[in-house]
């Protein structure tokens, strides 16, 4: 019997399409997270004052919450996609660790993109509600322009994707040993305490600033893409050594 020669590319493609169909739980969690974020944004901060003849209510909206929730979703998804339930499903059909990881990355990228587009679009939902439901005057220099929308989506995507990558690496570590579930938060809290005692700027904050205070677009793209790449490569190196369907 002649053996089938399958290419990695072909397998990754098949597996990606399979995951788009199979991993629908992640869409549900994405929507749940974003709807939650939108409610947060609606509730928002409201400020009102009334003098004898003037009543002013100012309603602050921001989709930052939606984006932040999406970033968090990315992290959780990155971790979850490596749990036994999902990897076992992978290995029912043709795959190896490389194709499994590559198709995971593609899936995470695709859903991150979806997530960042919907997160940015949710601004229009807020605008809609503000205009037509709450009859508010919108105080704005400009409605988000097409350019801003695309740019913002791209940057939001990089954040979500980075978060997925970090989640993926942590998910990998957790697959090696459950102890990391406790160890990683412990390390973070420990470093916070230690930095606090020594009066330094907390390490975690430095990481935060590293990405969130970067004002050069090019540097930001480099930072996020390189970090993501590092996380995925490290995961792959580890996963290559790990047994499946134990």
């Amino acid at each position: 019997m002649s053996l089938a020669e399958v290419s990695l590319f072909d397998t990754v493609k098949k597996q990606f399409l399979f995951k788009v169909k199979a991993n629908i739980d992640f869409y549900s969690s994405l929507i749940t997270m974003q709807v939650f974020g939108i409610f947060f944004a609606f509730a928002g901060i409201s400020y009102g004052s009334t003098s004898g003849w003037l009543s002013v209510t100012i309603h602050y909206y921001s989709v930052d919450a939606v984006i932040a929730f999406t970033v968090f979703w990315g992290f959780v998804t990155g971790v979850t996609i490596l749990t036994k339930q999902y990897t076992d499903t992978d290995f029912i059909f043709i795959t190896n660790r490389v194709s499994s990881t590559l198709s995971n990355i593609l899936f995470l990228a695709a859903t991150s993109l979806l997530g960042s587009v919907t997160a940015m679009l949710s601004k229009y939902l807020l605008l809609f509600a503000s205009l037509y439901i709450f009859n508010e005057h919108i105080v704005l220099g400009d409605i988000m322009s097409a350019g801003d929308f695309l740019f913002g989506t791209a940057i939001a995507f990089l954040y979500v994707f980075l978060s997925c990558a970090v989640g993926y690496l942590i998910g990998t570590l957790v697959q090696i040993n459950r102890i990391f579930i406790i160890l990683i938060p412990a390390l973070i809290i420990g470093s916070l305490i230690l930095d606090g005692i020594q009066g330094r700027l907390p390490f975690v904050l430095k990481i935060y600033e590293f990405y969130f205070y970067e004002s050069s677009v090019v540097l930001f793209i480099l930072k996020t893409i390189l970090t993501s790449a590092f996380c995925y490569i490290a995961s792959l190196v580890i996963l290559n050594r790990m047994e499946v369907r134990k």
Partner: protein, 304 residues
């Protein structure tokens, strides 16, 4: 040509449990091999190493001349069916068939559909809601229809009822005749698969105990019954697999069959009854830890 080669293959698990211990075996192309062994003999571990899921601790293993661990080539040309298969809960049974068809190059969708309808599966049902037997049946359909050059069934009939088992084995045989491939079936019920298989691979304590054609295995041992002294005299120096005593001095023994026809004549003349041993019983005798079996436990622990 051999499809699978294992040389001094060992597998130690984290925590020190040795599942395979210097196992050497070679499985030839397009044969159906029955992998037999007691619980914990290392059957599943061996199969999972062959399928590339687990990594060998030492020794050498090749499948299609390639180390199976993490090999895309092995994955593409083999399928591993067991009762632990978890499919994505998002897809319905029929969609799972479509996915399998998309992945496996030789997948025979007509056959899969035919079996799917024969076993009266609901296309819109979900795998995790199936009963144990139905799950096994569905997995078996995938396993047969995938037509992988290396098809591995690890206890495929778990939970199936008698009729379904028969249907499954017959379907497998028919498709094998039409599309020969290397098949390994593990089971602890040899009698179920003895007609189906060509070779038997018996493993015990993580090693190959026997690997030979099933037709030879059936003549591998004989049973002798008669007066204890006569029997003992006759089996002296032979490899004894099993012995049992009944009545005052009747003895039943199973020994390795390397007697000549003349010797059998003589034995009969001496009043010994000679018979063949059922393959399944022989497996049990061969893989028992002690020669006497469960009775030893009771005879050894007389109340004081």
């Amino acid at each position: 040509m051999s499809v699978i080669e294992c040389r001094n293959l060992s597998k130690k698990f984290f925590g020190g449990k040795t599942a395979l211990n210097n196992l050497t075996v070679s499985i030839e192309e397009n044969k159906i091999t029955g992998l037999i062994g007691r619980n914990g003999a290392g059957k599943t571990t061996l199969l999972k190493i062959i399928a590339g899921f687990l990594k060998e601790s030492s020794g050498e293993v090749t499948v299609f001349s390639e180390r199976p661990y993490n090999s895309l080539k092995v994955s593409a040309n083999s399928i591993f069916i067991d009762d632990q298969m978890t499919y994505t809960p998002a897809l319905q049974l029929y969609d799972l068939l479509i996915e399998a068809d998309r992945f496996y190059p030789n997948f025979n969708m007509t056959l899969a559909k035919g079996l799917f309808e024969y076993f009266a599966f609901d296309p819109k049902y979900y795998h995790k809601r199936l009963s144990k037997g139905q799950k096994s049946t569905f997995n078996a359909i995938i396993g047969i229809a995938a037509r992988c050059p290396l098809t591995i069934f690890d206890e495929p009939t778990t939970g199936m009822d008698e009729g379904v088992r028969k249907d499954f084995y017959r379907a497998l045989l028919k498709d094998y005749i039409e599309f020969p491939r290397t098949i390994i079936i593990s089971s602890h019920h040899l009698n179920e698969i003895e007609d189906l298989i060509e070779d038997i691979l018996l493993i015990k304590d993580g090693r190959t105990y026997l690997h030979l054609p099933i037709t030879e295995f059936k003549e591998y041992a004989i049973a002798i019954k008669g007066k204890k002294d006569t029997v003992l005299d006759w089996i002296k120096g032979k490899e004894i697999f099993y012995e049992q005593y009944a009545g005052v001095d009747t003895m039943y023994a199973v020994v390795k069959n390397d007697y000549t026809e003349k010797e059998f004549e003589k034995a009969r003349m001496a009043g010994l009854e000679i018979s063949s041993v059922r393959s399944n019983d022989l497996c049990v005798y061969l893989t028992n830890k002690s020669r006497g079996g469960i009775d030893d436990v009771f005879s050894g622990s007389q109340p004081v």
